[in-house]
Symmetry: C2
Subunit: 349 residues, 2 copies
């Protein structure tokens, strides 16, 4: 166990823990006393048909989803819906490398978790804790989109609507390499010490390089050219790198990032259909809006559009944003306007 | 000095050395006994008006330009033109970190060289060695495009035609970060030892990470998805990474890559006009074909097109190629067809 003040209610606001007991993973290992950290907003109605599930993205927690995406001014409106944000396994708040006791399943020995494990765990949470049998909507960005697709394919009868934002149903070879570059940036730091570092600060050089690779792929060429860090309050590109990118990643647990990276690389709903992606996506009965971001460099609209064509009751809704993938942080005010418009339309349908 | 068998005529075929004597650089240091390695093909005619100059790209030498771009079947036809390929300073064959004697200007202490230094040196080569006062064409890819722009702006009266392929006149902030990620991948390897490694093999982990970042940015998402490594004779993506990417970078001198990277980051013809890019490009009198590559992720057509609009007598000629930037290696047979068609048209105009 590594004490990390970032992964606490002091930093994240209140959240609940749902215990799954011993949870057997797809890869065959068991997470002992596995817990999902989640935060719920709004109230479940009597018919239990107003629940929305929002899974988290790589490096993210419920915090940014709560602060940016959820509220009475948004489509994810807690006055109307029961919105549950579930932290993915390994993200630092749910059961994760740094908060697992002992030496045999912690740190770099943390069991391999797949997207499917998260979705199975989330289904139990919704059913066992709340008695929810059908979700009005599953919506998530990036790795949250991977979980959204997994929900819609694995539990088609439980997902009425789905909105994968800036993510794919089957990870691409290029995306695999990008994620590998992010991961190797961490592990090649001698301070990583095979994963047995004492504190994330020991891996600071690796986390900086991790952030640099993110800076190149997470934001578009045009975002940098037009100096869109300026309206965010930074004085220079270097200032943004230090004050946003490095600050953001420096507090995170490196093994947590690696656990999520491994999972991200292997997101693939066609595991349900012997590798047949068309058959897997053909299972989806949810009304689905596939929502890539225009300038995304590693989940490009091209890849998302190809998958959308395989989803029966779906539409392609491209979000135009200069930021690229990190549009998900809401850097541009026009981002949430588009998200809310599309999700509002989807929820009304 | 580090013995490196890669930087020899055994590996590169014959080339000549042109001595510049002591060469004072823009940044203020002096390269003692500076030498340009070059290879010439064809014969200079009596009027001395059939010379074509081809500068090299990051990590490249005259070898690939000779083998892929030059020949009687190409626009760069030695039966018609006198084609001179000049290795950029720091590339391992011209004066470079590893072949500079002593400890004070070698390895990591190699002086900072700019694109402008290369072009000044190349102009002396062409004039002093061959008496060439005007070039029929300057053409280069990537950092070769940076040198091409520098030629056309610095010596407008000496450049009749120019063809910058997959490169920019003023480096972009995003491109700067990408190059930084490539460089930091090398320097964060403990084997780099502040630049005083004994052999490139000491830096092998850094060179592998360098190659991985290249793999993500140098080739398009679609190239990887369509498994375009297959027609190149590789059995898998990993096979391509090991057999092409890692093999390619592992023999190169790490300090050479860093010297070129520093230079790449700072390519900017507007240094001639107090930062006014429009004024700098407005100086160009050469008939210019600006030739970005369609899928290029760091010299995207958008950036190249914006510059092309500022060049008086120019046309935008986008090369369509699934490979992205590394199309320059000629992975697709349709690449050289397009290059030859555009250059042939330019030379005929």
């Amino acid at each position: 166990m590594i004490e990390n003040p970032f992964y606490t209610p002091e930093f994240h606001g209140p959240y609940e823990l749902f215990s799954l007991g011993d949870f057997v993973l797809e890869e065959g290992q068991t997470l002992r006393d596995c817990r999902l950290a989640y935060a719920a907003f709004g109230e479940l109605n009597g018919a239990k048909d107003n629940a929305i599930l929002v899974p988290t993205w790589f490096s993210g927690t419920h915090q940014i989803l709560r602060d940016l995406y959820i509220g009475p001014e948004h489509a994810l409106n807690p006055e109307e819906y029961f919105v549950v944000v579930v932290n993915q396994i390994g993200n630092g708040l749910s059961t994760s490398p740094h908060n697992t006791p002992g030496n045999f399943a912690s740190g770099p020995r943390f069991p391999k978790v797949r997207i499917g494990d998260d979705v199975v765990a989330q289904e139990r949470l919704m059913r066992e804790a709340f008695g929810v049998e059908e979700l009005a909507l599953v919506v998530g960005g990036s790795m949250g989109a991977q979980q959204t697709y997994e929900w819609a394919v694995r539990f088609p009868e439980k997902v009425k609507r789905a909105a994968p934002i800036a993510g794919t149903a089957k990870n691409t070879p290029h995306d695999f390499l990008f994620t590998q570059a992010l991961m190797d940036a961490i592990t090649m730091d001698p301070g990583y010490a095979g994963g047995w570092y004492e504190t994330p600060a020991d891996v600071r050089e690796g986390l900086v390089q991790h952030g640099l690779v993110w800076s190149v792929m997470g934001l578009s060429t045009e975002w940098w050219k037009q100096e869109r860090w300026r309206p965010l309050g930074f004085a220079s590109a270097e200032d943004f790198r230090a004050g946003f990118v490095d600050a953001y990643f420096s507090v995170l647990d490196p093994n947590s990032l690696l656990a999520q990276g491994w999972k991200w690389q292997r997101g693939d709903v066609s595991r349900h259909t012997d590798g047949d992606l068309s058959a897997a996506l053909g299972r989806i009965s949810a009304k689905t809006f596939v929502m890539p971001i225009g300038e995304d460099m590693f989940f490009p609209p091209r890849d998302c559009a190809a998958e959308q064509k395989l989803v029966p009751n779906s539409e392609l809704r491209v979000i135009e944003d200069i930021s690229g993938h990190w549009a998900l942080f809401g850097f541009e005010t026009t981002f949430m306007e588009q998200v809310d418009r599309h999700l509002g339309e989807l929820l009304a349908s």
